[in-house]
Protein backbone atom coordinates (compact mmCIF):
# COMPACT_ATOMS: atom_id res chain seq x y z
CA UNK A 1 0.00 0.00 0.00
CA UNK A 2 1.57 3.19 -1.14
CA UNK A 3 -0.37 5.51 1.12
CA UNK A 4 -0.86 3.38 4.20
CA UNK A 5 -0.82 6.30 6.58
CA UNK A 6 -3.42 8.32 4.74
CA UNK A 7 -5.76 5.36 4.28
CA UNK A 8 -5.45 4.34 7.90
CA UNK A 9 -6.27 7.82 9.09
CA UNK A 10 -9.28 8.06 6.83
CA UNK A 11 -10.40 4.62 7.86
CA UNK A 12 -9.94 5.21 11.56
CA UNK A 13 -11.76 8.53 11.48
CA UNK A 14 -14.71 7.34 9.49
CA UNK A 15 -14.97 4.13 11.44
CA UNK A 16 -15.01 5.92 14.74
CA UNK A 17 -17.73 8.29 13.60
CA UNK A 18 -19.93 5.55 12.20
CA UNK A 19 -19.38 2.82 14.71
CA UNK A 20 -19.75 4.77 17.86
CA UNK A 21 -18.95 2.51 20.76
CA UNK A 22 -20.04 -0.80 19.24
CA UNK A 23 -17.20 -3.16 18.48
CA UNK A 24 -17.09 -4.78 15.04
CA UNK A 25 -17.25 -8.38 16.24
CA UNK A 26 -17.86 -9.97 12.86
CA UNK A 27 -15.06 -7.97 11.32
CA UNK A 28 -12.76 -9.18 14.05
CA UNK A 29 -13.87 -12.77 13.54
CA UNK A 30 -13.24 -12.49 9.81
CA UNK A 31 -9.79 -11.16 10.49
CA UNK A 32 -9.08 -13.99 12.90
CA UNK A 33 -10.22 -16.45 10.26
CA UNK A 34 -7.75 -15.03 7.76
CA UNK A 35 -4.94 -15.12 10.30
CA UNK A 36 -5.89 -18.71 11.01
CA UNK A 37 -5.52 -19.73 7.35
CA UNK A 38 -2.08 -18.17 7.26
CA UNK A 39 -1.04 -19.76 10.55
CA UNK A 40 -2.31 -23.14 9.41
CA UNK A 41 -0.10 -22.96 6.32
CA UNK A 42 2.87 -22.05 8.47
CA UNK A 43 1.97 -24.73 11.00
CA UNK A 44 2.19 -27.34 8.25
CA UNK A 45 5.72 -26.17 7.55
CA UNK A 46 6.66 -26.40 11.21
CA UNK A 47 5.10 -29.85 11.66
CA UNK A 48 6.82 -31.08 8.52
CA UNK A 49 10.23 -29.90 9.65
CA UNK A 50 9.73 -31.11 13.21
CA UNK A 51 8.54 -34.64 12.38
CA UNK A 52 11.27 -35.10 9.80
CA UNK A 53 13.88 -34.00 12.29
CA UNK A 54 12.51 -36.28 15.01
CA UNK A 55 12.44 -39.26 12.64
CA UNK A 56 15.92 -38.50 11.41
CA UNK A 57 17.42 -37.86 14.82
CA UNK A 58 18.65 -41.40 15.59
CA UNK A 59 20.37 -41.71 12.22
CA UNK A 60 21.89 -38.27 12.38
CA UNK A 61 23.20 -38.62 15.93
CA UNK A 62 24.41 -42.22 15.70
CA UNK A 63 26.01 -42.04 12.31
CA UNK A 64 26.68 -38.36 11.95
CA UNK A 65 28.92 -37.56 9.02
CA UNK A 66 29.17 -41.23 8.14
CA UNK A 67 25.65 -40.98 6.67
CA UNK A 68 26.74 -38.24 4.29
CA UNK A 69 29.99 -39.91 3.30
CA UNK A 70 28.73 -43.47 2.74
CA UNK A 71 27.63 -44.92 -0.57
CA UNK A 72 24.25 -46.52 -1.12
CA UNK A 73 23.90 -49.99 0.28
CA UNK A 74 21.26 -52.65 0.57
CA UNK A 75 21.76 -52.53 4.33
CA UNK A 76 19.85 -49.68 5.90
CA UNK A 77 22.42 -49.27 8.65
CA UNK A 78 25.21 -48.73 6.15
CA UNK A 79 23.46 -46.82 3.39
CA UNK A 80 24.45 -43.21 2.91
CA UNK A 81 23.76 -40.35 0.57
CA UNK A 82 27.25 -39.58 -0.74
CA UNK A 83 26.46 -40.48 -4.34
CA UNK A 84 23.17 -38.61 -4.25
CA UNK A 85 24.73 -35.43 -2.89
CA UNK A 86 27.57 -35.68 -5.38
CA UNK A 87 25.20 -36.40 -8.25
CA UNK A 88 22.93 -33.51 -7.36
CA UNK A 89 25.82 -31.07 -7.24
CA UNK A 90 27.18 -32.26 -10.59
CA UNK A 91 23.70 -31.88 -12.10
CA UNK A 92 23.40 -28.36 -10.71
CA UNK A 93 26.85 -27.49 -12.07
CA UNK A 94 25.59 -28.72 -15.43
CA UNK A 95 22.51 -26.52 -15.17
CA UNK A 96 24.66 -23.52 -14.26
CA UNK A 97 26.91 -24.16 -17.25
CA UNK A 98 24.10 -24.69 -19.78
CA UNK A 99 20.92 -22.97 -18.65
CA UNK A 100 22.41 -19.89 -17.03
CA UNK A 101 24.11 -18.31 -20.07
CA UNK A 102 21.31 -19.33 -22.42
CA UNK A 103 18.60 -18.15 -20.03
CA UNK A 104 20.22 -14.79 -19.37
CA UNK A 105 20.92 -14.35 -23.08
CA UNK A 106 17.33 -15.07 -24.01
CA UNK A 107 16.03 -12.72 -21.32
CA UNK A 108 18.34 -9.92 -22.45
CA UNK A 109 17.20 -10.37 -26.04
CA UNK A 110 13.50 -10.36 -25.19
CA UNK A 111 13.73 -7.46 -22.76
CA UNK A 112 16.40 -5.24 -24.30
CA UNK A 113 16.60 -6.00 -28.01
CA UNK A 114 13.26 -7.34 -29.17
CA UNK A 115 10.77 -4.99 -30.77
CA UNK A 116 7.09 -5.63 -30.24
CA UNK A 117 6.65 -7.93 -33.23
CA UNK A 118 4.40 -10.93 -33.66
CA UNK A 119 7.30 -13.37 -33.46
CA UNK A 120 8.64 -11.85 -30.25
CA UNK A 121 5.23 -11.85 -28.65
CA UNK A 122 4.93 -15.50 -29.64
CA UNK A 123 8.32 -16.23 -28.07
CA UNK A 124 7.31 -14.67 -24.75
CA UNK A 125 3.90 -16.35 -24.69
CA UNK A 126 5.62 -19.61 -25.49
CA UNK A 127 8.09 -19.24 -22.64
CA UNK A 128 5.24 -18.51 -20.24
CA UNK A 129 3.53 -21.70 -21.32
CA UNK A 130 6.75 -23.70 -21.02
CA UNK A 131 7.09 -22.50 -17.44
CA UNK A 132 3.75 -24.12 -16.68
CA UNK A 133 4.46 -27.50 -18.25
CA UNK A 134 4.61 -30.23 -15.57
CA UNK A 135 8.15 -31.35 -14.84
CA UNK A 136 7.38 -34.97 -15.63
CA UNK A 137 6.64 -33.94 -19.23
CA UNK A 138 10.17 -32.52 -19.46
CA UNK A 139 11.29 -35.93 -18.33
CA UNK A 140 9.55 -37.50 -21.32
CA UNK A 141 11.20 -34.94 -23.59
CA UNK A 142 14.57 -35.82 -22.10
CA UNK A 143 13.86 -39.51 -22.55
CA UNK A 144 13.00 -39.14 -26.24
CA UNK A 145 15.62 -36.56 -27.19
CA UNK A 146 18.60 -36.92 -24.85
CA UNK A 147 18.41 -40.57 -23.82
CA UNK A 148 17.27 -42.09 -27.10
CA UNK A 149 18.04 -39.76 -30.02
CA UNK A 150 21.34 -38.38 -28.72
CA UNK A 151 22.61 -41.59 -27.14
CA UNK A 152 26.06 -41.41 -28.78
CA UNK A 153 26.64 -38.12 -26.96
CA UNK A 154 24.94 -38.92 -23.68
CA UNK A 155 26.79 -42.20 -23.35
CA UNK A 156 26.26 -45.65 -24.82
CA UNK A 157 27.61 -47.42 -21.76
CA UNK A 158 24.83 -46.09 -19.55
CA UNK A 159 22.34 -46.50 -22.44
CA UNK A 160 21.94 -42.75 -22.54
CA UNK A 161 20.89 -42.52 -18.90
CA UNK A 162 23.84 -40.40 -17.84
CA UNK A 163 24.71 -37.16 -16.06
CA UNK A 164 24.62 -35.43 -19.42
CA UNK A 165 21.05 -36.54 -20.12
CA UNK A 166 19.92 -35.60 -16.59
CA UNK A 167 21.74 -32.28 -16.63
CA UNK A 168 20.38 -31.28 -20.03
CA UNK A 169 16.84 -32.25 -19.01
CA UNK A 170 17.05 -30.15 -15.85
CA UNK A 171 18.52 -27.27 -17.88
CA UNK A 172 15.62 -27.31 -20.32
CA UNK A 173 13.21 -27.51 -17.38
CA UNK A 174 14.70 -24.54 -15.54
CA UNK A 175 15.25 -22.27 -18.53
CA UNK A 176 11.73 -20.84 -18.97
CA UNK A 177 11.48 -19.96 -15.27
CA UNK A 178 14.96 -18.48 -15.36
CA UNK A 179 14.16 -16.36 -18.42
CA UNK A 180 10.99 -14.97 -16.87
CA UNK A 181 12.73 -14.10 -13.59
CA UNK A 182 15.71 -12.45 -15.29
CA UNK A 183 13.35 -10.50 -17.59
CA UNK A 184 11.56 -9.16 -14.55
CA UNK A 185 14.85 -8.08 -12.98
CA UNK A 186 15.86 -6.33 -16.21
CA UNK A 187 12.48 -4.62 -16.46
CA UNK A 188 12.97 -3.10 -13.01
CA UNK A 189 15.97 -1.08 -14.23
CA UNK A 190 14.57 2.35 -15.14
CA UNK A 191 14.68 3.65 -18.68
CA UNK A 192 16.62 6.70 -17.66
CA UNK A 193 19.70 4.58 -16.92
CA UNK A 194 19.64 3.23 -20.47
CA UNK A 195 18.96 6.62 -22.01
CA UNK A 196 21.87 8.20 -20.18
CA UNK A 197 24.20 5.55 -21.61
CA UNK A 198 22.81 5.89 -25.14
CA UNK A 199 23.19 9.63 -24.76
CA UNK A 200 26.95 9.37 -24.45
CA UNK A 201 27.13 7.06 -27.46
CA UNK A 202 27.09 3.54 -26.08
CA UNK A 203 25.89 0.74 -28.33
CA UNK A 204 23.09 -1.49 -27.20
CA UNK A 205 25.45 -4.22 -26.01
CA UNK A 206 27.57 -1.69 -24.13
CA UNK A 207 24.46 -0.34 -22.44
CA UNK A 208 23.39 -3.84 -21.45
CA UNK A 209 26.81 -5.00 -20.29
CA UNK A 210 27.93 -2.02 -18.26
CA UNK A 211 24.63 -0.54 -17.10
CA UNK A 212 21.57 -2.75 -17.26
CA UNK A 213 23.16 -6.03 -16.14
CA UNK A 214 25.02 -4.58 -13.13
CA UNK A 215 21.90 -2.76 -11.92
CA UNK A 216 19.76 -5.83 -12.43
CA UNK A 217 22.32 -8.16 -10.86
CA UNK A 218 20.83 -8.47 -7.34
CA UNK A 219 17.38 -9.32 -8.68
CA UNK A 220 18.82 -11.71 -11.22
CA UNK A 221 20.97 -13.37 -8.62
CA UNK A 222 18.01 -14.05 -6.35
CA UNK A 223 15.96 -15.47 -9.19
CA UNK A 224 18.81 -17.63 -10.39
CA UNK A 225 19.39 -19.08 -6.93
CA UNK A 226 15.70 -19.83 -6.44
CA UNK A 227 15.44 -21.62 -9.76
CA UNK A 228 18.61 -23.61 -9.07
CA UNK A 229 17.13 -24.64 -5.72
CA UNK A 230 14.10 -25.82 -7.62
CA UNK A 231 16.26 -27.87 -9.98
CA UNK A 232 18.05 -29.34 -6.96
CA UNK A 233 14.81 -30.72 -5.53
CA UNK A 234 13.32 -31.90 -8.82
CA UNK A 235 12.75 -35.66 -8.95
CA UNK A 236 10.11 -36.65 -11.47
CA UNK A 237 12.01 -35.82 -14.69
CA UNK A 238 15.11 -37.59 -13.38
CA UNK A 239 13.11 -40.80 -12.95
CA UNK A 240 12.46 -40.75 -16.69
CA UNK A 241 15.97 -39.91 -17.81
CA UNK A 242 17.32 -42.65 -15.66
CA UNK A 243 18.65 -41.50 -12.32
CA UNK A 244 19.39 -44.86 -10.70
CA UNK A 245 16.80 -45.71 -8.07
CA UNK A 246 18.49 -48.81 -6.71
CA UNK A 247 22.07 -49.74 -6.04
CA UNK A 248 24.74 -47.74 -7.85
CA UNK A 249 28.30 -48.83 -8.30
CA UNK A 250 30.94 -46.18 -7.85
CA UNK A 251 31.36 -44.46 -11.19
CA UNK A 252 34.44 -45.28 -13.20
CA UNK A 253 35.87 -43.20 -15.98
CA UNK A 254 39.20 -41.91 -17.09
CA UNK A 255 38.29 -38.32 -17.75
CA UNK A 256 35.55 -35.86 -16.92
CA UNK A 257 33.61 -36.54 -20.10
CA UNK A 258 33.51 -40.27 -19.41
CA UNK A 259 32.34 -39.72 -15.87
CA UNK A 260 29.60 -37.44 -17.18
CA UNK A 261 28.58 -40.21 -19.58
CA UNK A 262 28.20 -42.65 -16.70
CA UNK A 263 25.27 -43.65 -14.54
CA UNK A 264 24.18 -41.31 -11.81
CA UNK A 265 21.74 -40.74 -9.03
CA UNK A 266 20.54 -37.61 -7.26
CA UNK A 267 19.63 -36.84 -3.68
CA UNK A 268 15.86 -36.46 -4.23
CA UNK A 269 15.87 -39.65 -6.31
CA UNK A 270 17.48 -41.48 -3.42
CA UNK A 271 14.84 -40.12 -1.07
CA UNK A 272 12.16 -41.40 -3.42
CA UNK A 273 13.62 -44.86 -3.86
CA UNK A 274 14.11 -45.27 -0.12
CA UNK A 275 10.47 -44.38 0.60
CA UNK A 276 9.59 -47.55 -1.29
CA UNK A 277 11.63 -49.79 0.98
CA UNK A 278 9.92 -51.36 3.99
CA UNK A 279 10.90 -51.07 7.64
CA UNK A 280 11.56 -48.51 10.36
CA UNK A 281 15.24 -48.29 9.57
CA UNK A 282 14.68 -47.16 6.01
CA UNK A 283 12.03 -44.73 7.16
CA UNK A 284 14.60 -43.12 9.43
CA UNK A 285 17.09 -43.06 6.57
CA UNK A 286 14.53 -41.30 4.37
CA UNK A 287 14.01 -38.67 7.04
CA UNK A 288 17.76 -38.20 7.43
CA UNK A 289 18.22 -37.85 3.67
CA UNK A 290 15.40 -35.30 3.61
CA UNK A 291 17.15 -33.33 6.34
CA UNK A 292 20.29 -33.21 4.19
CA UNK A 293 18.20 -32.16 1.16
CA UNK A 294 16.28 -29.50 3.07
CA UNK A 295 19.38 -28.08 4.73
CA UNK A 296 20.90 -27.55 1.28
CA UNK A 297 17.74 -26.08 -0.26
CA UNK A 298 16.57 -23.97 2.66
CA UNK A 299 20.04 -22.52 3.23
CA UNK A 300 20.21 -21.51 -0.41
CA UNK A 301 16.66 -20.08 -0.35
CA UNK A 302 17.38 -18.14 2.79
CA UNK A 303 20.50 -16.61 1.26
CA UNK A 304 18.49 -15.62 -1.83
CA UNK A 305 15.68 -14.04 0.18
CA UNK A 306 18.05 -12.16 2.48
CA UNK A 307 20.03 -10.88 -0.50
CA UNK A 308 16.85 -9.63 -2.10
CA UNK A 309 15.67 -7.89 1.05
CA UNK A 310 19.11 -6.31 1.44
CA UNK A 311 19.62 -5.08 -2.10
CA UNK A 312 16.05 -4.47 -3.17
CA UNK A 313 15.87 -0.90 -4.31
CA UNK A 314 13.04 1.35 -5.25
CA UNK A 315 13.68 3.61 -8.20
Amino acid sequence: MASVVATDQVRAGVELALRGRKADVRGLLFRMLLVLTLLLSLLVLVVLLATTLVQAWPVLTERGLDFVTSNTSSLASRAGVRQGVLGSFILIAFVVAVALPLGIGAAVYLQEYARDTRLNRLLIANIRNLAGVPSVVYGILGLVVFVQALRPITGNAASGRSYIAGGLTLSVLVMPILILIVMEALRAVPKSVREAAYGVGATRWEVVRSHVLPYAAPGMFTGVILSLARAFGETAPLLLVGAVTGYLSTPGGRNLFEILQGQYTALPTQVFSWTRLPGEEWSANVAAAIVVLLVAILAVNLVAILLRNRYERKW
Binding site: M1, A2, A6, T7, V10, R11, L18, D24, F30, R31, L34, T37, L40, S41, L42, L45, V47, L48, T51, G105, A106, V108, Y109, L122, L123, N129, L130, G132, V133, P134, S135, V136, V137, G139, I140, L143, V144, M175, P176, I179, K191, R194, E195, G201, W205, A229, G233, E234, T235, A236, L239, L240, P268, V271, F272, R276, I290, I297, N301, N309
Partner: protein
Protein backbone atom coordinates in the same frame (compact mmCIF):
# COMPACT_ATOMS: atom_id res chain seq x y z
CA UNK B 1 13.32 0.41 -25.76
CA UNK B 2 13.49 0.97 -29.47
CA UNK B 3 14.15 4.39 -30.91
CA UNK B 4 15.82 5.88 -27.89
CA UNK B 5 18.92 6.78 -29.87
CA UNK B 6 19.06 10.35 -31.14
CA UNK B 7 17.78 10.61 -34.67
CA UNK B 8 19.94 13.31 -36.34
CA UNK B 9 21.96 11.70 -39.11
CA UNK B 10 25.28 13.33 -38.26
CA UNK B 11 25.39 12.42 -34.57
CA UNK B 12 24.19 8.92 -35.27
CA UNK B 13 27.09 8.34 -37.68
CA UNK B 14 29.51 9.62 -35.10
CA UNK B 15 28.05 7.49 -32.38
CA UNK B 16 28.14 4.29 -34.40
CA UNK B 17 31.88 4.07 -34.19
CA UNK B 18 34.15 1.62 -35.92
CA UNK B 19 33.20 -1.36 -38.06
CA UNK B 20 34.59 -3.83 -35.51
CA UNK B 21 32.37 -2.33 -32.86
CA UNK B 22 29.38 -2.80 -35.10
CA UNK B 23 30.38 -6.35 -35.92
CA UNK B 24 30.60 -7.22 -32.23
CA UNK B 25 27.20 -5.66 -31.72
CA UNK B 26 25.70 -7.87 -34.44
CA UNK B 27 27.38 -10.98 -33.04
CA UNK B 28 26.10 -10.39 -29.52
CA UNK B 29 22.62 -9.67 -30.79
CA UNK B 30 22.69 -12.88 -32.83
CA UNK B 31 23.78 -14.95 -29.84
CA UNK B 32 21.03 -13.52 -27.66
CA UNK B 33 18.46 -14.07 -30.37
CA UNK B 34 19.62 -17.66 -30.72
CA UNK B 35 19.12 -18.40 -27.05
CA UNK B 36 15.67 -16.82 -27.10
CA UNK B 37 14.74 -18.83 -30.15
CA UNK B 38 15.89 -22.02 -28.46
CA UNK B 39 12.78 -21.92 -26.26
CA UNK B 40 10.63 -22.26 -29.35
CA UNK B 41 12.74 -25.24 -30.44
CA UNK B 42 12.17 -26.84 -27.04
CA UNK B 43 8.39 -26.46 -27.29
CA UNK B 44 8.35 -27.89 -30.78
CA UNK B 45 10.54 -30.77 -29.58
CA UNK B 46 8.15 -31.48 -26.69
CA UNK B 47 5.13 -31.53 -28.96
CA UNK B 48 6.86 -33.62 -31.64
CA UNK B 49 8.28 -36.11 -29.17
CA UNK B 50 4.96 -36.58 -27.41
CA UNK B 51 2.75 -36.64 -30.49
CA UNK B 52 5.08 -38.86 -32.51
CA UNK B 53 5.56 -41.49 -29.83
CA UNK B 54 1.91 -41.36 -28.74
CA UNK B 55 0.66 -41.96 -32.27
CA UNK B 56 3.18 -44.77 -32.75
CA UNK B 57 1.79 -46.39 -29.60
CA UNK B 58 -1.85 -45.83 -30.58
CA UNK B 59 -1.36 -47.55 -33.91
CA UNK B 60 0.08 -50.61 -32.20
CA UNK B 61 -2.66 -51.17 -29.67
CA UNK B 62 -6.24 -52.26 -29.94
CA UNK B 63 -8.37 -49.21 -29.24
CA UNK B 64 -10.54 -51.46 -27.06
CA UNK B 65 -7.63 -51.66 -24.62
CA UNK B 66 -8.30 -48.02 -23.70
CA UNK B 67 -11.51 -49.10 -21.98
CA UNK B 68 -11.26 -51.54 -19.07
CA UNK B 69 -11.89 -51.91 -15.35
CA UNK B 70 -8.64 -50.26 -14.47
CA UNK B 71 -5.15 -49.22 -15.46
CA UNK B 72 -3.09 -52.40 -15.76
CA UNK B 73 -0.41 -51.73 -18.39
CA UNK B 74 1.23 -55.12 -17.85
CA UNK B 75 -2.02 -56.84 -18.74
CA UNK B 76 -2.62 -54.55 -21.75
CA UNK B 77 -5.47 -52.76 -20.02
CA UNK B 78 -4.98 -49.06 -20.56
CA UNK B 79 -8.10 -47.53 -19.08
CA UNK B 80 -7.42 -43.82 -19.47
CA UNK B 81 -10.58 -43.01 -17.52
CA UNK B 82 -9.02 -44.54 -14.38
CA UNK B 83 -6.11 -42.15 -14.60
CA UNK B 84 -8.42 -39.24 -15.39
CA UNK B 85 -10.66 -39.90 -12.41
CA UNK B 86 -7.61 -40.28 -10.16
CA UNK B 87 -6.11 -37.04 -11.43
CA UNK B 88 -9.36 -35.15 -10.91
CA UNK B 89 -9.72 -36.61 -7.41
CA UNK B 90 -6.20 -35.57 -6.42
CA UNK B 91 -6.45 -32.13 -8.01
CA UNK B 92 -9.89 -31.57 -6.47
CA UNK B 93 -8.76 -32.51 -2.96
CA UNK B 94 -5.65 -30.39 -3.43
CA UNK B 95 -7.73 -27.36 -4.37
CA UNK B 96 -10.05 -27.91 -1.39
CA UNK B 97 -6.93 -27.48 0.74
CA UNK B 98 -5.09 -24.84 -1.27
CA UNK B 99 -7.96 -22.51 -2.26
CA UNK B 100 -9.20 -21.50 1.21
CA UNK B 101 -5.76 -21.49 2.82
CA UNK B 102 -4.03 -19.77 -0.09
CA UNK B 103 -6.73 -17.13 -0.65
CA UNK B 104 -7.13 -16.50 3.09
CA UNK B 105 -3.40 -16.01 3.53
CA UNK B 106 -3.32 -13.77 0.45
CA UNK B 107 -6.16 -11.60 1.68
CA UNK B 108 -4.63 -11.24 5.10
CA UNK B 109 -1.22 -10.31 3.71
CA UNK B 110 -2.66 -7.86 1.21
CA UNK B 111 -5.44 -6.21 3.22
CA UNK B 112 -4.82 -6.58 6.94
CA UNK B 113 -1.16 -7.23 7.67
CA UNK B 114 1.09 -4.36 8.63
CA UNK B 115 4.14 -3.90 6.41
CA UNK B 116 6.30 -5.42 9.11
CA UNK B 117 4.22 -8.60 9.39
CA UNK B 118 4.25 -8.87 5.61
CA UNK B 119 8.01 -8.68 5.50
CA UNK B 120 8.20 -11.39 8.13
CA UNK B 121 5.56 -13.78 6.80
CA UNK B 122 6.09 -13.64 3.05
CA UNK B 123 9.58 -15.19 3.15
CA UNK B 124 8.22 -18.05 5.25
CA UNK B 125 5.52 -18.68 2.68
CA UNK B 126 8.19 -18.58 -0.01
CA UNK B 127 10.18 -21.13 1.96
CA UNK B 128 7.18 -23.42 1.83
CA UNK B 129 7.22 -22.95 -1.94
CA UNK B 130 10.83 -24.09 -2.07
CA UNK B 131 10.24 -27.45 -0.42
CA UNK B 132 10.74 -30.24 -2.97
CA UNK B 133 7.70 -32.31 -3.82
CA UNK B 134 9.46 -35.55 -2.87
CA UNK B 135 9.60 -34.26 0.72
CA UNK B 136 5.86 -33.56 0.72
CA UNK B 137 5.35 -37.04 -0.64
CA UNK B 138 7.17 -38.55 2.30
CA UNK B 139 5.23 -36.24 4.65
CA UNK B 140 1.93 -37.39 3.14
CA UNK B 141 2.94 -41.03 3.51
CA UNK B 142 4.48 -40.85 6.98
CA UNK B 143 2.35 -38.22 8.70
CA UNK B 144 -0.82 -37.23 6.83
CA UNK B 145 -2.01 -40.77 6.05
CA UNK B 146 -1.53 -42.37 9.51
CA UNK B 147 -2.09 -39.31 11.72
CA UNK B 148 -4.72 -37.32 9.85
CA UNK B 149 -6.56 -39.44 7.31
CA UNK B 150 -6.76 -42.67 9.30
CA UNK B 151 -7.71 -41.05 12.58
CA UNK B 152 -10.39 -38.81 11.08
CA UNK B 153 -11.78 -40.70 8.11
CA UNK B 154 -10.76 -44.27 8.86
CA UNK B 155 -9.45 -46.48 6.11
CA UNK B 156 -6.98 -49.29 6.30
CA UNK B 157 -4.29 -48.96 3.67
CA UNK B 158 -0.94 -47.25 3.87
CA UNK B 159 -1.86 -45.17 0.83
CA UNK B 160 -4.82 -43.07 -0.24
CA UNK B 161 -5.88 -40.47 -2.75
CA UNK B 162 -6.86 -38.29 0.18
CA UNK B 163 -3.43 -38.11 1.79
CA UNK B 164 -1.72 -37.56 -1.57
CA UNK B 165 -4.30 -34.88 -2.41
CA UNK B 166 -3.69 -33.06 0.86
CA UNK B 167 0.05 -33.24 0.23
CA UNK B 168 -0.36 -31.79 -3.26
CA UNK B 169 -2.64 -29.12 -1.79
CA UNK B 170 0.04 -28.04 0.69
CA UNK B 171 2.48 -27.73 -2.20
CA UNK B 172 -0.02 -25.58 -4.08
CA UNK B 173 -0.80 -23.12 -1.24
CA UNK B 174 2.19 -20.80 -1.85
CA UNK B 175 1.48 -20.58 -5.59
CA UNK B 176 -2.18 -19.68 -5.08
CA UNK B 177 -1.33 -17.27 -2.26
CA UNK B 178 1.36 -15.40 -4.12
CA UNK B 179 -0.60 -14.86 -7.36
CA UNK B 180 -3.81 -13.97 -5.51
CA UNK B 181 -1.91 -11.59 -3.26
CA UNK B 182 -0.37 -9.84 -6.26
CA UNK B 183 -3.84 -9.41 -7.72
CA UNK B 184 -5.36 -7.99 -4.52
CA UNK B 185 -2.36 -5.79 -3.84
CA UNK B 186 -2.68 -4.32 -7.34
CA UNK B 187 -6.20 -3.04 -6.65
CA UNK B 188 -5.82 0.75 -6.54
CA UNK B 189 -6.13 2.37 -3.16
CA UNK B 190 -8.66 4.85 -4.49
CA UNK B 191 -11.24 2.06 -4.57
CA UNK B 192 -10.58 1.21 -0.92
CA UNK B 193 -10.67 4.87 0.09
CA UNK B 194 -13.93 5.45 -1.72
CA UNK B 195 -15.48 2.54 0.19
CA UNK B 196 -14.13 3.76 3.50
CA UNK B 197 -15.41 7.20 2.61
CA UNK B 198 -18.99 5.98 2.56
CA UNK B 199 -18.50 4.16 5.84
CA UNK B 200 -17.51 0.62 4.91
CA UNK B 201 -15.70 -1.57 7.40
CA UNK B 202 -12.41 -3.29 6.61
CA UNK B 203 -14.16 -6.63 6.20
CA UNK B 204 -16.69 -5.14 3.80
CA UNK B 205 -13.94 -3.47 1.82
CA UNK B 206 -12.01 -6.71 1.58
CA UNK B 207 -14.98 -8.83 0.53
CA UNK B 208 -17.11 -6.43 -1.47
CA UNK B 209 -14.50 -4.13 -3.03
CA UNK B 210 -11.06 -5.72 -3.21
CA UNK B 211 -12.20 -9.27 -3.92
CA UNK B 212 -14.45 -8.40 -6.89
CA UNK B 213 -11.86 -5.97 -8.28
CA UNK B 214 -9.17 -8.65 -8.13
CA UNK B 215 -11.40 -11.52 -9.15
CA UNK B 216 -9.66 -12.19 -12.49
CA UNK B 217 -6.30 -12.59 -10.80
CA UNK B 218 -7.84 -14.74 -8.08
CA UNK B 219 -9.45 -17.02 -10.64
CA UNK B 220 -6.13 -17.16 -12.48
CA UNK B 221 -4.36 -18.19 -9.28
CA UNK B 222 -6.86 -20.99 -8.74
CA UNK B 223 -6.57 -22.26 -12.30
CA UNK B 224 -2.77 -22.17 -12.16
CA UNK B 225 -2.97 -24.01 -8.85
CA UNK B 226 -5.19 -26.61 -10.47
CA UNK B 227 -2.72 -26.97 -13.32
CA UNK B 228 0.16 -27.39 -10.88
CA UNK B 229 -1.82 -29.96 -8.87
CA UNK B 230 -2.65 -31.87 -12.05
CA UNK B 231 1.00 -32.08 -13.03
CA UNK B 232 2.39 -32.89 -9.60
CA UNK B 233 4.12 -36.24 -9.71
CA UNK B 234 6.23 -37.20 -6.72
CA UNK B 235 3.60 -36.81 -3.99
CA UNK B 236 1.27 -39.03 -5.99
CA UNK B 237 4.00 -41.55 -6.79
CA UNK B 238 4.88 -41.90 -3.10
CA UNK B 239 1.59 -41.49 -1.24
CA UNK B 240 -1.23 -42.48 -3.61
CA UNK B 241 0.14 -45.94 -3.69
CA UNK B 242 -0.46 -47.66 -6.98
CA UNK B 243 2.72 -49.02 -8.45
CA UNK B 244 1.84 -50.71 -11.65
CA UNK B 245 -1.90 -51.03 -11.88
CA UNK B 246 -5.01 -49.74 -10.18
CA UNK B 247 -8.72 -50.27 -10.34
CA UNK B 248 -10.95 -47.37 -11.24
CA UNK B 249 -12.36 -45.88 -8.07
CA UNK B 250 -13.89 -42.63 -6.93
CA UNK B 251 -13.37 -43.29 -3.22
CA UNK B 252 -10.73 -40.87 -1.91
CA UNK B 253 -9.82 -43.30 0.85
CA UNK B 254 -8.63 -45.89 -1.67
CA UNK B 255 -5.22 -45.86 -3.18
CA UNK B 256 -4.95 -45.51 -6.91
CA UNK B 257 -3.24 -44.16 -9.94
CA UNK B 258 -3.17 -40.78 -11.68
CA UNK B 259 -1.74 -39.66 -15.01
CA UNK B 260 1.50 -38.43 -13.46
CA UNK B 261 1.70 -41.43 -11.14
CA UNK B 262 1.27 -43.80 -14.09
CA UNK B 263 4.08 -42.08 -16.01
CA UNK B 264 6.49 -42.30 -13.11
CA UNK B 265 5.73 -45.92 -12.24
CA UNK B 266 6.10 -46.93 -15.88
CA UNK B 267 9.41 -45.10 -15.96
CA UNK B 268 10.92 -46.80 -12.93
CA UNK B 269 9.45 -50.16 -13.86
CA UNK B 270 11.19 -50.13 -17.21
CA UNK B 271 14.29 -51.92 -16.06
CA UNK B 272 12.30 -54.71 -14.46
CA UNK B 273 10.63 -57.52 -16.28
CA UNK B 274 7.81 -56.08 -18.29
CA UNK B 275 4.53 -57.85 -18.73
CA UNK B 276 3.92 -56.38 -22.14
CA UNK B 277 5.98 -54.55 -24.72
CA UNK B 278 3.11 -52.09 -25.04
CA UNK B 279 3.32 -51.09 -21.37
CA UNK B 280 6.33 -48.76 -21.33
CA UNK B 281 5.51 -46.64 -24.42
CA UNK B 282 2.01 -45.96 -23.08
CA UNK B 283 3.65 -43.29 -20.94
CA UNK B 284 4.05 -41.14 -24.07
CA UNK B 285 0.32 -41.18 -24.65
CA UNK B 286 -0.44 -40.36 -21.02
CA UNK B 287 2.22 -37.65 -21.16
CA UNK B 288 0.59 -36.12 -24.22
CA UNK B 289 -2.82 -36.03 -22.49
CA UNK B 290 -1.25 -34.44 -19.42
CA UNK B 291 0.54 -31.85 -21.55
CA UNK B 292 -2.64 -30.90 -23.40
CA UNK B 293 -4.64 -30.69 -20.17
CA UNK B 294 -2.18 -28.44 -18.33
CA UNK B 295 -1.60 -26.37 -21.47
CA UNK B 296 -5.31 -25.59 -21.72
CA UNK B 297 -5.48 -24.66 -18.03
CA UNK B 298 -2.46 -22.37 -18.39
CA UNK B 299 -3.90 -20.63 -21.46
CA UNK B 300 -7.19 -20.00 -19.66
CA UNK B 301 -5.44 -18.58 -16.60
CA UNK B 302 -3.25 -16.38 -18.80
CA UNK B 303 -6.47 -14.92 -20.25
CA UNK B 304 -7.67 -14.02 -16.79
CA UNK B 305 -4.34 -12.47 -15.81
CA UNK B 306 -4.41 -10.29 -18.91
CA UNK B 307 -7.84 -9.03 -17.93
CA UNK B 308 -6.42 -7.74 -14.66
CA UNK B 309 -3.60 -5.95 -16.44
CA UNK B 310 -6.04 -4.24 -18.77
CA UNK B 311 -8.25 -2.89 -16.02
CA UNK B 312 -5.57 -1.18 -13.98
Amino acid sequence: MAGTVASEGLTLELMRGSASRRRKERLVRGAFYGSAFLSLVVSVAIVLALVGEAIAWLTKIDLGMLWADGWFPRRDEFDILTLFVGTILIAGIAMLVAAPLGLGAAMYLSEFATPRTRRLLKPILETLAGIPSVVLGYFALAVIQPEVVKSIFGGTGAFSYLSAGIGVGILTIPLVASIAEDAMFAVPNSLREAAYGIGARPRTVAIRVVFPAAVSGIVASLILGLSRATGETMVVAIAAGATGGALRTVNPLDGGQTMTGAISSLAIGSDQVRGSILAFPSLYFVGLLLFVLTFLLNVVSERFVRRVRKTY
